[in-house]
């Protein structure tokens, strides 16, 4: 079978995650198969990528052939580009990952639960990281980038019950997550600036002349945001604090994510972008200054730490600063080439000594349960194997002669030295680099002197006690991976050609030296960088031996995150408690003030809003209308104004009714018979409800006089005027504006007969308002009916039904219902006539004023009157269904009518109309919307009668 390049890359990226998922299907105690599957998941990418590089070449395959469209509308494709930089990082990730799988098996021993959790998370991370370094589409890269943050979060918070670990995990996620957000912004700006969404297209575009780009002015902002993204991920000052905090994770994680791979994602990004941003003025300045500062700060804090993992974490921070600085220095030129000297080797070198150091920290903790350097006096005597591997790796940290590290440090110093020719200020950076080296050498010297010292008596005893560990065949993997990796350090230092074989195909800037310099080359060609190294070694040995700078110090930056969190939560609480007072009145003030501000803004935007409309359009009306409406206005004003003044509750409710009745009159004047009928009936029922409720609440003693009445009145007046003014403007413009045809006109022409716009189908009714409700806006009416039914359910559950026993007792005491016998007798006439009238309105509704709502209300009023006259038992005999069940039935009928047309292949709520001929009478107009209206009618009756009945029952018992 011939594997396509795309299949190879996809396999490389997704194999670790898939293998991790597969391990979940194994029983927990099957640790060996679990380890082997995870191992395959990470070894497969190594093999596939090496095969890819061998057969197809690095950077020779067009990214276009490695693309799967994913979400094209968001410009998000799964596009990959295994160019030298990406290929190097991918091999690093997969290669170190393979060793970490074995190390983790030894580290967690045969604790099946930990391994069960660890391998899937590790595979998830490896896939995410491979995606970051291989993705060509920038958004896809970001997607993987965020996944690495998530997996890092999961692994830092490995000890789920340790509050400190969880807090540190959250800190790391917050910092890198916010960086990811900035990166997203940067990617979007970069894509807008260049019009390209992939690295392989955007970077050459940026490297070319900027005049031809769509939006070159965005480039500095894109740079700033992308820098933030990379700086948070790669722990650059002032965001570096999360990385030492991340040491709460198990040691395999620290070795893998937090030194060898994930934290280099930011550095990878800088390397990827460096050709693009060379033209940006502050690229070099930002990267060099932030990088150099991070480099020195990390080294100093490492020197002032005693805990092993802390020391290695801070030296990692320092080294990440060096990489950032290195890419910044690349902005200068040397012999017409970017001033970058073996950058990929530089990054590889770090992994080759830092990963072993972390691995050994875990191994030492495993062997002797010591996590701090001060507890390891004489370690070389008690445990020579672990001690000497650790010292070999620490020698790499110190960049001693005959290590690859030496070459890397020389390369970096040469870079600074070359850049100084352009910018003498960089002597400061040279000084910082020397000081960093001093710290690194001093740390090595401390390790050496501590390990070789005479052991304290009690420590020695402890060490020997701890040797009775259960060792199985896997425990060699605690130190074997470290030994394997650190061997390459020395191989590269002694025989560079061994390393060059692998590194040259992926090295990006190897032009200054055709081969890696060894210490012998450096001594043969003495130059200022060699002198700097010499000074650093001398001072470093001095600092390491002398008892200075030994007391551990805390990094002041560690308080940044807790302080920001507590600042945010305190400020948030302050804002919250000043707005959310819990007092209803304040909410009303806030809301209405916002409304008034909106009105002011509208007036400022459109001054025509404040102009007085033409008088003719405000007054014109037949004389009779004017007199009637003036009376109504007087009535409304008088009744409304009496509401806040009058004390008697009954009078207030009646005044409220008076306002409602006047509004009914206004509807009549405005030629709205349906509205007038509905309003009239609802008003009757509402007033009955108000009276019932007021009777249930005893008269309260008047509250203490309210202060600030005048302010309250003034505020209300302003709100009233603002809304009244809006109404005036709206009404005047509705009349005068010649504007486009009103939507209402469309309904008028389509209410009965259709047009080609509606495929010839009309509403089939003459009462346009009713047709709009049941047909054009049928969904709306359905929703409204639902609201009504839900309100009814709420009401019935708020006031539970009176228990039957209590009800019967109450009626036994008061058997003869005290109403006038006149009313009781006349009910014989009122009930049938009223219900008949309701039925008439119901069937007529489609063509004339009426319909389900109105008919339901008429029936409700009749039934409520009947109940008043004859008592609850009579009503129960007449309407033996519980109101809740009745409401549900009505709603179901309406829903079923709405959905029924679907069975005939018609849209929801379609209706059919026809005239049924009646002998000796006008034909009977029948429409299927009658069933819909029937549901509405039943819900209305259930709600109105049910609520009135329930409240009256409460009063009677």
């Amino acid at each position: 079978m011939q594997l396509t390049p795309l299949a190879l890359i996809m396999m490389s990226v997704f194999a670790p995650a898939i293998a991790g998922l597969v391990t979940l299907f194994l029983p927990r105690d099957r640790t060996t198969p679990r380890t082997l599957i995870a191992l395959v998941g990470l070894a497969l990418p190594v093999a596939a990528l090496l095969y890819f590089a061998q057969t197809l070449g690095v950077g020779a395959v067009e990214p276009a052939s490695l693309t799967i469209p994913f979400v094209p509308s968001f410009n998000l494709d799964l596009a990959f580009n295994p160019d030298p930089l990406g290929m190097f990082f991918a091999l690093l990730v997969a290669g170190v990952g393979t060793l970490i799988v074995l190390y983790a098996r030894a580290y967690f021993g045969d604790d099946p639960d930990s391994l069960f959790r660890f391998y899937p998370t590790l595979g998830f991370f490896a896939t995410a990281m491979l995606g970051v370094v291989l993705a060509d589409n920038m958004l896809a890269m970001l997607l993987f980038w965020e996944l690495t943050s998530v997996s890092s979060f999961l692994l830092i918070g490995w000890e789920r019950n340790d509050r400190k670990a969880v807090r540190l995990a959250f800190q790391a996620l917050a910092v890198t997550g916010m960086g990811g957000l900035a990166l997203l912004g940067g990617i979007i700006l970069l894509a807008l600036a260049t019009g390209e969404w992939s690295f392989s297209a955007a970077i050459p575009a940026l490297a070319g002349p900027h005049e031809s780009l769509p939006a070159a002015n965005l480039i500095p902002w894109a740079f700033a945001l992308m820098f933030l993204g990379g700086a948070t991920k790669s722990a650059q000052w002032p965001f570096h604090f999360w990385l030492p905090g991340a040491m709460a994770a198990p040691t395999p994680v620290s070795a893998y994510l937090h030194s060898a791979t994930m934290v280099k994602a930011g550095v990878y990004l800088f390397g990827r972008l460096s050709p693009a941003f060379l033209g940006v003025d502050f690229w070099a300045a930002t990267l060099i200054s932030v990088g150099a500062l991070t480099m020195l700060l990390g080294a100093y804090l490492a020197l002032r730490s005693t805990e092993l993992k802390k020391i290695f974490a801070y030296t990692t921070v320092s080294q990440l600063g060096l990489f950032t600085c290195m890419f910044g220095l690349g902005a200068f030129t040397y012999h017409d080439e970017p001033n970058l000297v073996w950058p990929v080797t530089q990054i590889l070198n770090h992994a080759l000594y830092k990963a072993p150091l972390f691995l050994m920290a875990g191994a030492i903790a495993h062997a002797v349960h010591v996590k701090s350097l001060t507890g390891l006096r004489g370690f070389a005597r008690t445990n020579p194997l672990l001690a000497w591997i650790t010292l070999a790796a620490a020698y790499g940290l110190a960049a001693g002669p005959f290590t690859l590290s030496f070459a890397a440090k020389e390369a970096f110093l040469y870079q600074i030295y070359h850049a100084i020719e352009h910018e003498p200020l960089l002597w400061i950076v040279a000084g910082m680099a020397v000081l960093t080296s001093v710290c690194n050498v001093a740390i090595f010297v401390r390790f050496l002197t501590t390990f070789l010292a005479r052991p304290d008596a009690e420590h020695a005893a402890e060490h020997h006690h701890d040797h009775d560990h259960a060792h199985d065949g896997w425990s060699v993997w605690l130190w074997l991976p470290a030994l394997f990796i650190v061997a390459w350090q020395f191989a590269g230092g002694v025989a560079p050609s061994l390393i060059e074989r692998f590194i040259l195909p992926v090295e990006t800037h190897a032009l200054y030296w055709s081969h890696l310099p060894t210490v012998l080359d450096a001594i043969a060609h003495p130059s200022p960088p060699l002198a700097m190294s010499g000074v650093a070694v001398l001072l470093g040995v001095l600092v390491g031996v002398l008892p200075v700078l030994r007391r551990p110090v805390a990094d002041p930056h560690d308080s940044i995150f807790p302080a920001s969190v507590s600042f945010l939560s305190r400020t948030g609480w302050g804002v919250f408690s000043s707005i959310q007072t819990g007092n209803l009145r304040h909410y009303i003030y806030f809301t209405l003030t916002a409304f008034l501000l909106g009105m002011i803004a509208a007036a400022l935007k459109d001054p025509a809003f404040l102009e007085w409309p033409a008088l003719a359009s405000l007054w014109a009306a037949p004389t009779g209308f004017i007199i009637a409406s003036l009376c109504l206005v007087a009535l409304v004003i008088a009744a409304s104004l009496s509401l806040p003044i009058v004390n008697s509750r009954i009078v207030r409710v009646l005044m409220l009714g008076a306002v409602g009745m006047s509004v009914t009159g206004i509807y009549l004047i405005y030629e709205a018979p349906d509205l007038a009928l509905t309003q009239l009936l609802f008003e009757i029922i509402s007033i009955i409800l108000f009276l019932l409720v007021l009777r249930m609440i005893p008269e309260e003693p008047p509250l203490a006089p309210v202060t600030g009445r005048i302010g309250r009145a003034a505020f209300s007046m302003i709100v009233g005027l603002a809304i009244g003014w809006t109404v005036l403007q709206a009404g005047a413009h509705a009349d005068s504006s010649p504007g486009p045809a009103k939507l209402g006109d469309w309904f008028l022409t389509h209410a009965h007969y259709g047009s080609e716009q509606t495929n010839g189908r009309g509403g089939g009714g003459d009462n346009v308002v009713n047709v709009i409700l049941v047909d054009f806006r049928g969904y709306d009416t359905l929703g409204e009916t639902t609201v009504l039914a839900i309100a009814a359910m709420g009401i019935f559950s708020l006031i539970a039904a009176v228990p039957r026993r209590r009800r019967d007792r109450a009626h036994a005491v008061n058997p003869e219902w005290l109403t006038s016998s006149l009313l009781r007798t006349s009910m014989r006439l009122i009930l049938p006539l009223g219900l008949l009238f309701a039925a008439y309105l119901f069937f007529k509704g489609h063509n004339e004023p009426g319909g389900g709502f109105i008919a339901g209300l008429v029936a409700s009023v009749v039934l409520a009157t009947y109940r008043m006259a004859k008592g609850p038992e009579a009503l129960r005999r007449l309407l033996p269904i519980k109101p809740g069940a009745l409401a549900a039935t009505g709603l179901m009928i309406a829903l079923a009518t709405a959905v029924a047309p679907v069975a005939f292949g018609l849209p929801v709520l379609t209706s059919r109309t026809g005239d049924i001929p009646l002998a000796g009478a006008d034909p009977f107009h029948f429409s299927t919307v009658v069933f819909f209206d029937l549901g509405v009618l039943i819900v209305v009756i259930a709600v109105s009668v049910g609520v009135i009945n329930r409240l009256t029952e409460e009063l009677e018992t």
Partner: protein
């Protein structure tokens, strides 16, 4: 006509807001009841006046029923208001029931006192 409608809306809204800003819940319920009237009338104003201005003077329009001989008014605001009336009825009924339930729980209906009442809001049936 529009002017009169605007005056009515102004008065209704002013009184409604005034009641809403009061200290007892009964008044607030009345305020909300008033506001729904005001809002409905505001929507009604958007249909324009129920007359048409012609050269010979104002001519009345008819209701939005097609069998009427006269020219009808805009039907859409009426349909919207009809929906709004029903909803406001549901709101009023629920609000009034809530008043009863609140009174049973707290023995008073003062808004300020309820704001400071930090008892758990468990409903008890009588």
């Amino acid at each position: 006509m529009t002017l009169l409608l605007a005056v009515i809306v102004t008065v209704i809204f002013a009184v409604g807001v005034y009641l809403l800003l009061g200290r007892e819940l009964k008044g607030m319920a009345m305020g909300i009841f008033l506001l729904s009237h005001g809002a409905n009338l505001g929507i009604l104003a958007m249909s324009g006046q129920p007359v048409r201005l012609t050269a010979t003077g104002p001519t009345p329009l008819g209701p939005p029923v097609l069998t009427e001989a006269t020219q009808p008014v805009d039907p859409l605001p009426q349909a919207l208001i009809l929906t709004a009336i029903v909803i406001s009825f549901a709101v009023t009924a629920f609000l009034l029931t809530l008043l009863v339930a609140t009174f049973r729980r707290a023995d008073h209906l003062g808004a300020d006192e309820l704001a400071n009442d930090d008892r758990p809001t468990v409903l008890t049936t009588p």
